[in-house]
Symmetry: C2
Subunit: 376 residues, 2 copies
Amino acid sequence: MAGLTFTIAATDGAARTGAIRLARGIVRTPAFMPVGTAGTVKALYMDQVKALGADIILGNTYHLMLRPGAERVAALGGLHTFARWGGPILTDSGGFQVMSLAQLRKLDESGVTFQSHIDGATYTLTPERSLEIQALLDSDIRMQLDECIALPASRAEVERAMRLSLRWAERSKAAFGRPEGRALFGIVQGGDDAELRLESAAGLAAIGFDGYAIGGLAVGEPQDVMLQMLEVTMPALPATAPRYLMGVGTPEDIIESVKRGVDMFDCVMPTRAGRHGVAYTRFGKINLKNARHADDPRPLDETSDCPATRDYSRAYLHHLMKSGEMLGAMLLSWNNLAYYEGLMAAIRAAIAAAAYDDFRAETKAGWAAGDMPAHG
Amino acid sequence: MAGLTFTIAATDGAARTGAIRLARGIVRTPAFMPVGTAGTVKALYMDQVKALGADIILGNTYHLMLRPGAERVAALGGLHTFARWGGPILTDSGGFQVMSLAQLRKLDESGVTFQSHIDGATYTLTPERSLEIQALLDSDIRMQLDECIALPASRAEVERAMRLSLRWAERSKAAFGRPEGRALFGIVQGGDDAELRLESAAGLAAIGFDGYAIGGLAVGEPQDVMLQMLEVTMPALPATAPRYLMGVGTPEDIIESVKRGVDMFDCVMPTRAGRHGVAYTRFGKINLKNARHADDPRPLDETSDCPATRDYSRAYLHHLMKSGEMLGAMLLSWNNLAYYEGLMAAIRAAIAAAAYDDFRAETKAGWAAGDMPAHG
């Protein structure tokens, strides 16, 4: 397969930095992909997302297939035209949201039938249909359909889902075909069981993909279990392919996962937290709804390049959130995505400088020191 | 009083165009003032508001006194610093929202006592306290406290409220003092009664204000009643002072009111309609929630300079509104304010060219012709 070219420019321990070359652009790694659920990164203009340094965004097959519909998006010129994002887009398979959002799911060997959470209409998602939808959206990186189960779960259940996901991986690759300049990733499953994770990784590597995702983590298990699974899985994946940890995570999750060799991340956290009044900063998480900010004329962080972070007082942000004003969500989503993308840029620079452990320690110390003392 | 300098550059019939010079900037008239209710023009960044050509915004005393509180805003450097708007700001007196939003109102000669719609706390608003709050906010144009009643109402009731408003006008002027570079407007009341309107206008002119507002219109009466009241009132107001029609209105209301000599407007309509999926355009009002737009790749108006109007497909806007995505409200509020501010610029140019009636007829014909035929 040659849907992408992945170049590793530097490594520092298991951490690596480089670039994924795709038909629509270059993704600097380690990369954080803002989540554009339904064709919009919530509360932000795409111009802002781009300016923050995001090279690639994620689109959710589940949401887009239900509304506005994949065939409609295709008729409108594909997801890039529809959502006005010219760079690379990764689409997930839809499987994860079917499990978490849809009603009346019925899963069997062929795929999953479910009712839309929007209007109750019945849909079927198979590996073939998922890849067909992703082709209609014309995403740059496409994901195999898998079954992602919540943890804790019995070993038998984890094993069953992992084996099914492997069989779906084969069908997904066949359904993907060989579209010019488009890439397909397989997804490692296996829950919190090292043996099953290794079986999954080996099975996927044998099938052969442009990149490998680690799924089924950050679904309720402790962070140390997640990191342990990464340590087990990474050596079993082809070193020359990009590795994508799905749905992760907090800034600390990202820092720890990069240390273990992960190249790509996505998470709704920066935009979701922003809508709920929480800011990610170099001082750690700050809840702007807290009354301590009500009279504070200082910005979140005067040293930032992001206008949302540097130019608006905490008192104003507090007021906007308490008043339910949309601008509050707009500014905090902007701040948070700026923080995430800035973190990724710093991570890449630290790896390139062979100083990742120092960077990691300093960043975590900054969070641990906490927010500046209250004003006045 | 000399809180402002008003220069009329050109007239065309009763319509006039010119500039109001204030300490914080120049307001080109006729002017539309975007409403920044609680220190934010909803769903827009202030940079966008400025770039659209707005010279002045409005802040609501009622909302700001309840949250975050006028004393707090003052301690934070005033409303301009708080909301990051460097140009002129007009604040209303709070009276209108007390009547429309607050609970358990008790009005007497001294003022009005009410309970906050947010937390039920009791507040008192008198002419003196309203001007004190507006001074704490440090707005550039301040409004007298008045009593605005809904129409229809009995003549006795309209007369009582108008006379009370006149007495409050005197007290407001005394309370205003003579702050350097700040202006005070009186408010004409009198409902739909020409005689009472004239008495109110004459009374205010005798007291003397920097500008004169027409209040108590667009509160439920037919448009022709509103325009008739303008025709009665305008000649009774000092021709050399700005005239502000409060809370108005639709683009057609504005065009008709300018013809009758109004210089300033404010209305929540562009941003409120935007949040509800309605776009103002040269084709008239367009409801983006309508299914006719679902497959339409065309923008709202490809001839516009506003990115929201020119660069986003109707299909995408439809999708965003149907999905409840914040970006939909952001884009349509942007489009709508662009339309309003563009309309004001065109109005000013038409008056300067002594071609206002032609402009008015062409603009109304464009609305009447309606939206472009459905796609495909």
